[in-house]
């Protein structure tokens, strides 16, 4: 039979021992080892350098003193710490806008996932998921510019003004005046940026619901809504949590869009319509013009952010891992 032919050795010449071949293995081994360890070396050097350079700040205020300090007032010195450096307003802003982003993106992602997996007609499913993945490819500077000229004046500002004018506006969380550049504006824009990753993970976990369970539920007379509510969503819950954490990790580190939209005021306020600042944004905005001592402060902020994102990413991976392998997590 012709099916036997592929089993023949494909080419004895390629396996024949040669002088060069004997060196191939060890050289290849060292080459890939070098490639693999470069990641660790780069990571280590970055961590080491930033920590060393920010030591004067940590020494002056203590690690937790730096994290909890609520005043950021830079000095002009080139050799000693004369200003006051407290990271709390920026940590607060970063966390707050990430929470806003997640609060907007996650329900949207669940809706999109359920629609593409369960409700949408077959021919629409593929294009729709491609469209969402395309969203992830838009460079953040483009989103930042669109935010300034479209989203902020025509979307976030009307929403903010409306919310401030309703009874909700009495709550400190929604208190006015509605500043155009605020935690809310930044959070909304970042939610657009994290939507693709959260959707990808959620969609995959929903799709992995065992067909049997689904059919069983239908067989028992469950409606489509009941199947989604009682089978698919509970099944996909760990994946959803993991996807959310991945989204948070990305939101924490988003720079360009946040720098353009968060307000850059180095203060913090309870209201989501308050123009505050975030770790990435303050580094981006002030790095070029900072005195050496302020740069130590910015590096200390960088270390803080690195720790935060590492923590969130490890947490996310643990959760995603525990919920079983999810195809979407490769996207991160």
């Amino acid at each position: 039979m012709s099916t036997q032919t592929p089993l023949e050795p494909s080419g004895p010449t390629s396996l024949r021992a040669s002088g060069r071949g004997r060196w191939g293995d060890p050289v290849f081994r060292w080459a890939v080892l070098g490639a693999a360890s470069s990641v660790l070396i780069i990571l280590g050097v970055m961590m080491f350098r930033t920590t060393i350079d920010s030591m004067p700040i940590f020494r002056e205020f203590g690690f937790f003193g730096f994290l909890a300090g609520d005043t950021w007032s830079t000095g002009q010195s080139r050799s000693e710490v004369t200003g006051e450096y407290g990271a709390w307003p920026f940590i607060y802003g970063t966390v707050k806008l990430s929470v806003i982003a997640v609060a907007i993106a996650v329900p949207l992602a669940i809706g999109i996932s359920l629609f593409t997996n369960e409700v949408a007609p077959k021919w629409l499913r593929k294009p729709l998921s491609y469209a969402i993945d395309t969203l992830a490819m838009i460079p953040s500077i483009v989103i930042a510019v669109v935010a300034i000229f479209f989203f902020i004046p025509y979307v976030t500002d009307p929403i903010a003004r409306f919310l401030v004018s309703t009874p909700l506006g009495e709550l400190p969380f929604f208190a006015g005046p509605a500043q155009r550049q605020s935690y809310f504006s930044a959070g909304l824009m970042v939610s657009i940026m994290i939507l693709p990753i959260v959707t990808a993970v959620t969609r995959e976990t929903f799709a992995n619901t065992p067909e049997d369970e689904r059919n069983a539920a239908y067989a028992m007379g469950a409606t489509r809504w009941e199947v989604m509510r009682h089978v698919i969503v509970p099944r996909g819950f760990p994946g959803m949590v993991g996807g959310t954490m991945l989204g948070v990790g990305r939101a924490l580190g988003e720079t360009m869009v946040v720098a353009f939209t968060v307000g850059s005021s180095q203060r913090m306020g309870a209201s989501i319509f308050f123009g505050g600042d975030a770790i990435t944004a303050v580094i981006f905005n002030t790095f070029a013009t900072s005195s050496p001592e302020a740069i130590w402060g910015l590096l200390a902020l960088g270390v803080t952010l690195f720790l935060m994102t590492t923590f969130v990413n490890i947490l996310a991976r643990l959760i995603v891992m525990r919920s079983g392998r999810v195809v979407g997590d490769a996207a991160v």
Partner: protein, 398 residues
């Protein structure tokens, strides 16, 4: 059919790349700009072998011919950027200046770390910075005033504009106290007794005010806060002066004069402070400010020049000074823009270019006209002669 058009596209792209690499637009470092460095690298190349090296030497020699007008690299104040661009384009000695508009704080930093040929700032160096500078290069950093500018308070409020028009008043009137109140977020709307007292005829709207400040280290901030710091006691206690200060809660920041301008234009009720050229170019209304003699002065060419002129004879020889207590017809929030240069350590070609360029900028009639066109106060008369002496000190010490 497709492949020829693809080839064309690829060729076009390639052409762009070649132009981008060959033109002056590419990133230039201070060392690149020094022509003698080019010569030095040629010697290294000559030590090598092969035709390529010879080719490069030929190119290098061409650069060497133009050595007397080496390109300059400067960085700093966004305050002066519009004028610096004009000067670069039209300067008589024909010197190429690559100016990076990164803010005064950055200008001082890059100057002191010797990354640029000249720094640019609206605040003068502190004693500590001067001591550091002397250590860095072993000679004095020079302050060269090349223009005066004002920092008006600008706002975006259509209701207020309409109210002013109804009242027949040309501009809103503010004083140091109310400006400080607005930027401390203590005055939250135009309907504040102090502002009403200054504008008795105007039906002020209740727009909530959102102060916009610079988020980067800025000489514009330095001029503005130095004025408030001098005039208002509680401001100096709470906020002080500097090129970056700890602003009140409820304010927002913008990156560069460009960023503040954009934020004010976007935010109804936004109140900001910018270099006057930005207010005029973007057609944003500015407020008149009460000066030391109690006159409400709107910023224009004459009123901006009046302040510097009133103190011009008392400017110290190291050219480090603030302009405060402006009276008569002078707009009170004014400052100086300095170019920072070294007394020593330049390659001769770069030193010559810098002297030529700055000498032209502070003395030539055309340079003054360009400054006036963009609403900066030029350096003129006796003061110009004094500054020229300072320019001559550039690279004068071995």
């Amino acid at each position: 059919m497709r492949s020829p058009s693809r080839t064309t596209a690829a060729l076009t792209a390639l052409a762009f790349v070649v132009v981008a690499c060959g033109g002056d637009g590419g990133p230039v470092t201070a060392e690149d700009a020094g022509a003698s460095d080019v010569a030095a690298s040629d010697e290294e190349l000559a030590a090598g072998d092969g035709d390529t090296a010879t080719d490069l030497i030929d190119d290098g020699d061409q650069v060497g011919v133009e050595a007397e007008s080496a390109d300059l690299l400067g960085a700093g104040a966004t305050f002066i950027t519009p004028l610096m661009l004009e000067w670069t384009r039209d300067n008589e000695p024909g010197i190429q200046v690559n100016y990076q508009s990164i803010g005064s704080g950055g200008g001082v930093e890059q100057f002191l770390s010797e990354q640029v040929d000249f720094g640019s700032s609206e605040r003068y160096l502190t004693e500590e910075e001067i001591a550091d500078a002397q250590e860095i290069r072993g000679c004095d950093p020079l302050h060269i005033p090349d223009a005066f500018g004002s920092v008006p308070v600008v706002y975006n409020d259509d209701d207020l504009d309409a109210a002013l028009e109804t009242a027949g008043q040309d501009s809103l009137v503010l004083d140091a106290e109310t400006i400080a109140g607005i930027f401390a977020a203590e005055i939250e709307s135009w309907q504040h007794p102090d502002i009403e007292a200054l504008n008795p005829d105007v039906e002020l709207p209740a727009t909530p005010l959102i102060p916009v400040h610079r988020s980067d280290g800025s000489g514009t901030t330095y001029i503005f806060t130095t004025y408030l710091d001098h005039e208002i006691d509680w401001w100096s206690e709470q906020y002080g002066a500097g090129d970056e200060i700890d602003w009140a809660a409820g304010t927002i920041g913008g990156n560069g004069n460009e960023g503040v301008t954009a934020n004010v234009q976007q935010q109804p009720g936004g109140v900001g402070y910018v270099s006057y050229a930005y207010a005029v170019e973007n057609d944003i209304p500015a407020a008149s400010v009460i000066n030391a003699d109690g006159n409400a002065i709107y910023p224009d060419l004459d009123t901006i020049a009046a302040g510097p002129n009133s103190i011009i004879d008392s400017i110290p020889d190291d050219f480090r000074y603030d302009i405060l207590d402006v009276g008569a017809d002078g707009f009170p929030i004014v400052g100086t823009h300095w170019v920072l240069a070294w007394e020593c350590g330049y390659d001769d070609a770069v030193g010559d270019s810098l002297r030529d360029f700055l000498g032209w900028a502070v003395s030539a009639e055309e340079a003054d006209d360009l400054a006036r066109d963009l609403l900066y106060g030029p350096v003129t008369g006796d003061f110009s002669d004094r500054v020229l002496e300072q320019v001559e000190r550039i690279n004068s010490v071995e």
